[in-house]
Symmetry: C2
Amino acid sequence: MTAVSTMMRAALSLNHFLDRAGRYHADVEIVSRMPDKSLHRHTFRDFHRRALALAEVLVAAGVQPGDRVATLSWNHYAHLECYFGIPAAGAVMHNLNLRLFPHDLAFIVNHAKDHILIVDDVLLPLLAQFSKDVKFERIIVVPLTGKPVPAGYDDYEELLRKASGRFEPVAVDEHAPCGMCYTSGTTGHPKGVVYSHRSTVLHTLVAALPGALGVSDTDTVLPVVPMFHANAWGLPYLAVFVGARLVMPGPHLDAESLLDLFQRERVTITGGVPTIWLSILQALRSAPSRWDLVPGMRMLVGGSAAPESLFRGFDEFGLEVGTAWGMTETSPLGTVSALTAAMRALPEDQQYALRVKQGRAAPLVEIRLIGEQGEVAWDGQSAGEIQVRGPWITGSYHEMPVRESSFTADGWLRTGDVGCIDEHGFLRLTDRTKDLIKSGGEWISSVDLENAIMGHPAVLEAAVIAVPHPRWAERPLAVIVLRPGMSATAEEIQQYGSRTFAKWQVPDAYEFVAEIPRTSTGKFLKTKLRDMYKDWAWQGA
Amino acid sequence: MTAVSTMMRAALSLNHFLDRAGRYHADVEIVSRMPDKSLHRHTFRDFHRRALALAEVLVAAGVQPGDRVATLSWNHYAHLECYFGIPAAGAVMHNLNLRLFPHDLAFIVNHAKDHILIVDDVLLPLLAQFSKDVKFERIIVVPLTGKPVPAGYDDYEELLRKASGRFEPVAVDEHAPCGMCYTSGTTGHPKGVVYSHRSTVLHTLVAALPGALGVSDTDTVLPVVPMFHANAWGLPYLAVFVGARLVMPGPHLDAESLLDLFQRERVTITGGVPTIWLSILQALRSAPSRWDLVPGMRMLVGGSAAPESLFRGFDEFGLEVGTAWGMTETSPLGTVSALTAAMRALPEDQQYALRVKQGRAAPLVEIRLIGEQGEVAWDGQSAGEIQVRGPWITGSYHEMPVRESSFTADGWLRTGDVGCIDEHGFLRLTDRTKDLIKSGGEWISSVDLENAIMGHPAVLEAAVIAVPHPRWAERPLAVIVLRPGMSATAEEIQQYGSRTFAKWQVPDAYEFVAEIPRTSTGKFLKTKLRDMYKDWAWQGA
């Protein structure tokens, strides 16, 4: 006779994390930079009370389990309350990306059928740009500036004061939705990903592990990555779960403001896209003795592959860059680069070669590479599309049919990213499928070229794209921003690139510009670049 | 309309951990002390291959999902292969406690309906003591001594060599059973607890967190606690999951052998019951310069509350004692004592006061204290029965009706342990409900008295029990083992106890003995002590 497990069927729930924060981490501080640059301070005790108060007033306002409550907010204490208070009401926190075009925001709000909006007062002008195209039952304004909330809106603080303080979170099944993000795809309409209590709890447990992000109650965490972008990589959930001190930058994301917060609040771990760190590194270099940061502060880089020069550059300042890979569809932790004890004993250059990679599949996530002939070997050379599977990977998109272009027949997510995996299991991201360059029948990785060119001392940023070529079908073109006050010719850069790449791989076309167009999340907007240079006149072709 | 999570429904499974061990931790070493004291060494690559081979031969032998495969083994590489190979066959690993009486083992095997037994060759004499009362379909012998396996048994190594090496683990639902342990209760029949893939995976993820056991791939783990006792506190699962180096002591659990392994194999974390650590501390003290252990080696203590003198004693040697609380029914992690950053800044005495406690509920576990008037305050003083709830807490016993004495109507496990919880949420274990002493209508904690008396320099061990008293109903009696070569009178110890306890709480009866009887898991056998001294002649009563 088959044995049956005697274990309790206890549901995984964000409400458990909220309860622990109030019970065990009550004295831990949450610091938020306000629009006027002043610092707002309160504790997890306040957070716990206020998140439950928010849940109570939402339920009182008629919010039903599974209803969507949208946020349009920077990173700060009130947004954190929404992260937990909305799920405690049984509802779904849908964070809106305030960097999208207003017409995209309207599409997303309508597609998600958001009932209620919670919005920063400083973002009301953005709301005004699409409010005629959407219909919320109720709009709650967070008065960050302290100014009176305009007529017709609810005041977040006033609502919270109405709560009785006696509210039990709404119990839900662990598969019930707790959050929602739309992808910021550069082609087609944005697509909605709906996270569950289960997926978020599991993602948080794994992210906290020493071999993953490794955050504990001795840390002070500053998420530069916005809370409206892939859940700020789960850092808000993580900090609340482990009781780490939280520092929120609000709307001030320039290098100077961030360095000031790092120094003032003794930040030990932070995360953001490479462009943020490039600007921070430049600021540190321009005034090396000005900043006194916590030695060994960890800086997580994600969103796209970062050049080795970034790792080496920060090492000079005693700051440690770490990398990971993921996307909105993967909650977002797909892989994480954490060197093992054995790897940390390798020569420095070999360590760098591993550190710049995106690392191993996070625990509970499975990864594979699929090439034109099926599954590709883990030999560090063979490239294929990255496919993943696991409990926090999306298996569909909100209210959309499951398409072959996004999911395989055997249930894996097709990420659209291309990479190699080495014998250690370390993934190296080489490209988006659509960003590969096919020259004379051979593939060239735009990301590898960009990282090589960015190693040139005069180059601040480089984007490499495919442009049509009469003879080779496509050839790479490099769009380059030089460092202020420095110069380099196309020939010099081409020669520099030839040190690490075969001649046919190195771009023979260069364009020097003041700025590279970017997506709302700071990535190079390659669709725009390809469009700008599609009629490139090849000499002698 | 209610939103639905788009997350994949991926099952939590031990097979995922096994796969990661082969994929990512292949070069990590597993060292096992053999019966002849030689060291057997292989790697997670071997472990991965052999565990799958075991699964393959079990399936070939007709093992069906949910079938029980028992083990009767010390801690070593082959037992670890059973931990993962039996579940990979879809079956349930049932580890038998080799310290139980043969008639209890026969009861357990028959109650669990074990189909197959995997047994160390050195334990065949134990098997012979109950083999006539049980019936296995097949007995597989692990030839640890290298001697030929007796006729009538299968040879574990020979079976493994028959495997094709092409076997995919049997896919099971996450609630499917993977393991089984019987409680070693001192009263009544043993009761079976059946763990699931889900409960074991979640327990392992949480145990690995820095705020819990905090084990990572930089660690070398030596489980002194037997793999047949509460899953060796989950340490085998944990080491395989994070890729920590494993050192297995085999049958050699004396202080000298353990110290030799700690030193030789550079162990960084180990775990066992207090009596083990008392003997180790004594050995260190008797030859302080003899051993060269890894500085800061962590020693987890569980099973019962440990005296402060143990913490202070090891601190003198630069070794760190940590404590936790749990039982077979809780997988076993119920609470864990990990000081927060703020607590580590407290004065030393206050840190000790916290370190000796059993700590906070592990993440995902809920805890409460129930006294005679319902739930008891977290004030550090009020005591109540410890009740817990969570995804790795048992909600019933294998093939037994759910009784009120074990589970509450609202679904919590009644642990039978008594404790207080302070304002930090730290549990302090004060007693088993049945070990409390009720003197003149007031409760006295036997554990508190024991720990106080063990602080006396001449006392090696002390057990305090209730004995009937004509006037006070019950009074405490202390059974004492003195340190070799030292002496103390009852009056001296009574006076010593009066420093920290009220006069009426301190025992006025003392018995000096050479040894205190223990349970199979090393705890004081208080039922026996109570029986021995039930007719104590009170002077002047």
